[in-house]
């Protein structure tokens, strides 16, 4: 959903039709970014005062002084468990406390002892423990270098871009404390005086006030921005810092705009540019063939990231010279982070493997919430399903066309006048009847609950929030009000834990009338979107308790989803797993549910961009990502729609959605051929649900992304480093969706020298480390299973995922070059937290020496399933003379089989053992 209407109005008012960048700031239009970016690399004015150094068991502290203005900073350095270093820099004595981001870290990160290796007047060297890793603190100019052996892994402030705008009194008020009071009493007047006095400089400067498109930012605290640079020797590829509609590999920003992180509701966003979008995760990964590292910049204020690529230590001239001379010196990427307020709090994740970085980041901010199985199935959404009859007829439509689905969604029109937690009394008069009818079909519903609350004294939610003082306040202390779907709306202060707990309590079945246990929630517009606010969001001088929106902005959506997910957990007494979709997000949002890429459009380019957008999110912990299938704005051709279904079915969060103004596009509205194509791909998704579920279970424990770029699995294969037109699901499935109109073929890259890949549809075997041309028709979805893997499927696809709960499995054993394969099987009740009480089945399936066995990976866990193994396909097999099944009770029996010699596929017929049991199957 989008503030389409209001933006349309805004566009009309501004007299231009370009829905565009003009509504959003460039770095130049954001005063602190402009000031900071004006600062060029050079000698840092900061000096470390080594005599102030204190080293305890857990941390080192040290003062830094800016030799230009003599303001002192306090540096804190921690060595964290799991090969991470935390660097915190704050003012030593700030005029008032500066904001430090709470609630994002799952705990105070456990530290490990730092030991001093050497110290002299030039600096100190500290050991980071194992692997000869050291951090060198250089005193003048101040810089930090993290070394391993003789190799520099990362340098901080090596380009001298540490810049810390200390909090200060207003210059003209410093001399006269009386004037300060006057100023507070009449800021407008004061502002006028200021402007008159010092017009040019003040406007340009924007330190104490700033105006953008008629919105003024009062900036009562003055300048407070921070900046720090990082140099990454040997690195040419950096990733992450979502959300941007851009390629997977981040581009250099020299001469252009920096990547911006500021949660915004961007109407009809443009592709391939660094503009801010709905969410922000200030995490960047750096990768080369030897090592992967990460930088987590824990700051929730507006942030800009500059990336430049250099040759280490060379000036621009030197670089040119290198180019001319064909120098082979190591490449280097330089990164600079700029934030508007708060402190520098950065976590340096030292890898060295991609998976290490994922685990390191997960140890800080937590892992992906383990969704209920149904959340991984197909979601049917539209703005809007008009009424209960409409919902019922769509539900019936799916059954008539034999297409499975698990969730049907209701957008804002289901409410009584955009009052969330209510139902339109005419169109959704009996929501429980509707939910009951879905429940009979074992299906579920998601209804939207946005954070903007209609200002209406007849609305319970509003009255409660107002009377409890839970609304965000404007700069003058009144309730902040802005324009959104319901008209005039208040914005609850989700940064307040009391507010969140009250919000959570509103999801109780007796509070949220008409709700039932198969009703789940969607949080949209939580950037927050304010139609009449600056850049369609909240004024930066709005107050969340003691803090300005400036400080907490990027956390708002994170907290909304947190409180909502907590509500869904609480309503079931802590038993059921929640499912909450959010549009805005921050580091840590992975803990609360799913994210989608917002209001995309029915265009081929938007289909393509869904891949790098979700890959980028996966790299920073948010695995449950999807794009609106079909495209939100505009109307897809049936070809685009089918291709989008084929792509979306192989992405984590699989939901079709459409704008209010577009024609209906349920899967059966495009002729029987297209219906059949869509049916087929949705069925493929359902068949693969056991694999998706197992991967999400894994992601919940490890933080490893489910949808992965190829380089994560093939970190040394530089051909994969910038690849974002294909991806892996887990380790074992490679997907190269068809995203070109009228495509007759695609060229997929199959990685892995000496490896083999099997086409999942034909079982044809292909060698790794090759570009494979694949002719395609409308029914083609190029997907390959890695040789050496075992994937469980449930091929009896039914109406919804829960209908398939007790169904048997088919195991797809794809033999690797060593005629071996491994996989896992994970089973639990699919919707509760009981798996945390060890109620699950987790088995390793492995094939080696012609024996396939199922081994219990969690002997202390207990769960029983009715599911059994109905079929085993062994791809790349040779024909055995007999196949023997041995079960745990010692019984042996022959298993019937068939062998297809053309594709070397051995099919074992109905071995029949329980999926939770120990067994072996021997080929002889």
């Amino acid at each position: 959903m989008v503030p389409a209407l209001v933006l349309w109005l805004a566009v009309c008012l501004s007299g231009t039709w370009a829905v565009d960048r003009g509504n959003f700031k460039t770095c130049d239009q954001s005063a602190f970014c402009k000031r900071q970016r004006a600062l060029k690399p050079g000698q840092s004015p900061y000096r470390a005062l080594l005599e102030t150094m204190e080293l305890t068991n857990t941390r080192l502290t040290l003062q830094l002084i800016n030799d230009n203005n003599k303001v002192r900073l306090l540096l804190e350095l921690y060595r964290l468990q799991g090969n991470m270093t935390r660097v915190k820099i704050n003012e030593l004595k700030p005029l008032k406390p500066r904001f430090e981001v709470p609630d994002v870290l799952i705990q105070e990160p456990p530290t490990e002892p730092l030991s001093l290796l050497s110290k002299d007047e030039n600096g100190v060297v500290l050991s980071l423990g194992a692997e000869s890793q050291r951090v060198i603190v250089s005193a003048q100019p101040f810089r930090l270098d993290i070394m391993e052996g003789h190799e520099v892994l990362m340098s901080l402030n090596s380009r001298g871009l540490l810049a810390f705008e200390h909090l200060r009194m207003r210059k003209d008020t410093q001399a006269d404390p009386e004037a300060e009071k006057k100023e507070e009493a009449d800021p407008a007047n004061q502002a006028e005086e200021q402007t008159a006095k010092d017009d040019e400089e003040k406007v340009e400067d924007g330190m104490w006030e700033e105006t953008f498109k008629s919105h003024s930012d009062s900036k009562p605290n003055g300048p407070s921005s921070i900046s720090l640079d990082f140099s990454l020797p040997g690195v040419e590829h950096v990733y992450g810092i979502p959300e941007h509609a851009d390629t997977l590999k981040l581009k250099t920003t020299d001469g252009g705009e920096p990547y911006r992180l500021y949660n915004l509701d961007v109407f009809q966003y443009e592709l391939y540019n660094p503009m801010a979008l709905y969410g922000a995760v200030p995490v960047m990964l750096a990768h080369n063939a030897q090592r992967t590292t990460g930088i987590f910049w824990l700051n929730a204020a507006e942030t800009w990231v500059d990336i430049s690529s250099n040759t280490a230590g060379k000036t621009v001239f030197g670089k040119m010279l290198d180019y001319v001379q064909g120098s082979s010196e190591t490449p280097q990427t330089d990164v600079r982070w700029i934030s508007e307020s708060g402190i520098i709090d950065v976590f340096i994740m030292l890898g060295p493997t991609p998976y290490d970085v994922f685990s390191q980041y997960a140890s800080l901010t937590g892992t992906q919430a383990f969704p209920p199985l149904a959340g991984l199935a197909y979601h049917q959404c539209r703005w809007n399903y008009n009424d209960q009859e409409d919902v019922q007829s769509v539900d019936v439509g799916f059954d008539q066309h034999d297409i499975p689905y698990d969730f049907i969604w209701l957008d804002i029109e289901h409410t009584d006048g955009k009052r969330y937690f209510t139902w339109d009394p005419h169109k959704f008069a009996t929501p429980k009847d509707m939910l009951e009818a879905l429940m009979v079909k074992k299906r579920k519903m998601v209804a939207i609950v946005d954070p903007h609350i209609k200002v209406d004294s007849n609305y319970k939610i509003h009255n409660e929030i107002r009377s409890r003082g839970f609304y965000v306040k404007n700069k003058d202390g009144g309730d902040y009000e802005g324009w959104c779907w319901p008209g005039n709306a208040g914005y609850p202060d989700f940064t307040n834990p009391e507010m969140r707990s009250w919000w959570a309590s509103m999801f109780a079945y007796d509070q949220y009338e008409g709700s039932m246990k198969n009703l789940y929630t969607w949080n949209d517009m939580n950037e927050p979107s304010v139609f009449n606010g600056p850049e369609v969001t909240m004024h930066k001088d709005a107050m969340h308790g003691a803090w300005e929106n400036r400080d907490v902005h990027n956390l708002y959506g994170f907290y909304v989803q947190m409180a909502t997910a907590e509500g869904l957990i609480q309503r079931s007494g802590g038993v059921e797993r929640p499912f909450v979709l959010t549009r805005a997000f921050f580091a840590g949002s992975q803990r609360y549910g799913a994210v989608w890429t917002g209001d995309n459009a029915a265009e081929w380019e938007h289909l393509k961009i869904s891949i790098p957008m979700c890959l980028s999110l996966g790299l920073v912990g948010i695995s449950l990502c999807g794009a609106d299938v079909g495209g939100f704005f505009k109307t897809p051709s049936s070809e685009l729609l089918v291709r989008w279904y084929q792509t979306g079915a192989y992405q984590p969060f699989f939901r079709a959605h459409a704008h209010l103004d577009t024609p209906r596009r349920e899967p059966w509205l495009f002729g029987p051929e297209n219906t059949a194509l869509i049916r087929e791909v949705v069925r493929q998704r359902y068949a693969l649900l056991p694999y998706w579920y197992q991967l999400f279970h894994h992601a919940y424990h490890t933080g490893h992304p489910v949808m992965r770029p190829l380089w994560v699995e093939y970190p040394q294969d530089s051909a994969t480093f910038a690849m974002d037109n294909q991806f892996l699901i887990g380790r074992d499935l490679l997907v190269h969706p068809v995203t070109e109109e009228g495509a007759r073929g695609v060229t997929a890259y199959l990685p892995g020298k000496g490896e083999v890949w099997f086409d999942v549809h034909t079982f044809q075997k292909h060698n790794g480390a090759q570009n494979l041309y694949i002719p395609v028709t409308m029914s083609s979805i190029p997907v390959f299973q890695r040789g050496g893997s075992i994937i469980p499927r449930k091929v009896r696809v039914r109406r919804s995922s829960s209908c398939m709960e007790n169904d048997p499995y088919t195991l797809y054993v794809a033999l690797g070059p060593q005629r071996a394969a491994e996989g896992e099987l994970y089973i639990d009740d699919s919707h509760t937290f009981n798996f945390e009480k060890k109620e699950f089945i987790h088995r390793r399936l492995s094939f080696a020496n012609n024996i396939l066995s199922s081994i219990n990976l969690a002997p202390d866990a207990q769960y029983s399933t009715q599911s059994w193994i109905e079929r085993i396909l062994i791809l790349g097999a040779s024909k055995p003379s007999k196949v023997t099944l041995k079960t745990s009770d010692g019984q042996e029996r022959q298993v019937e089989f068939e062998f297809d010699s053309s594709m070397s596929v051995l099919t074992l017929r109905k071995p029949g053992m329980n999926a939770g049991a120990d067994w072996t199957v021997a080929l002889q």
Binding site: R683, V795, R909, K910
Partner: protein, 394 residues
Amino acid sequence: MRCQIIIAATFWSVCVDSRKIRGISLSYKRFYRERKSFLCIDGSRMVPFEQVNDDYCDCEDGSDEPGTAACPNGRFYCTNLGFRPHYIPSSRVNDGICDCCDTSDEYNSLTWCLNSCRNLGQRERADLEGRMRTLDEGLRLKQQLIEEGVHIWREKQTQLIELQQVAEDLQVKLEEHRRRKNTADRLREQTLMALEAEDNGPRRQNRTITSIFHQLDSNNDGSITVDEVQAKVAYVEDEERILSEDEAVALLGGGHQMDLTMFQHMLWNNLRSGDSIKIKGTHGALVGLVDEDPNIKAAGSAAERAAADLKKVEEAFETVNMEISDLTKKLTIDYGADREYLFMNNQCYQLKVYEYTYTLCPFNQVTQKDVSGTEVSLGTRAICGFPTTHLASD
């Protein structure tokens, strides 16, 4: 009723005969004769008979698993004794959702299904009966409307024919009257012309002049004097007033008397035209004197009568023709195969949808009126085509 018994009996026999083969209909029974092996219905493959419904899909067409969920493309036959049998996709067998009203699809699931076939059957039969009643009632109404339509149609046809007859009669009459009027006009003209000719002829005219002259010449002295003029001549506008001497002199051409010759050239012309002066006691121009000729009078009134008569007939003819064209127009509209919609002519129906009131006047126009009273026409000729088969009673 007899039909139901037969159906029930058929179902029963299916149940008995193929007790072992779950999920097939009677017509498919022949494919599942118990033999050593089973040939997939598409002929693609032969499997041992034990593999029929053994919960493993062997046939590509799914035919070996009619009673389980094993085949992705299979189908399961719900016998639904007491209700209607039908097929469901195999994927709905034992999925925890009751699909067959006889519960046969959930033979191995935790979901407890209630056999609702009898109820459904009863309800459906009741429903059907209700619908049949409605249909009958509708048909009856339709017949009535058709009859009514035919009646109206005939009436209108008769009316049309009558009108056309009237029009024809009027046409004849019209022509007759036109002729009559022409004749009368001509007669009057001729009479007038004859009179004129007489008046204007030297003899007749002279005689007339002479007689007027003598009329004015009271003393018969052969000349008209001022006194005589004053006594006999008056202004048309003011007959009562006696002419002054000057006026009389002026009329006499400036002299005090006038002989016949002069009279003929001067005063006669004035009198004759009758514009300003006249002889007392007479009306209009001297010609009026002439019109008082009984012949002319008779001819004039005859012509007037003829004209009035013609006008009446013309009006009648026009009215009748308008009625004919109106009726013809109505009769050319399509009122359905049996003119069952004819009754809707001249009727209007209203429907309130939210803030709008729609008024549908079949064969005329459709309008939308909102609460503020603004009316918008949505088109005319609201009904153009008809379902050819039925018209429900409502």
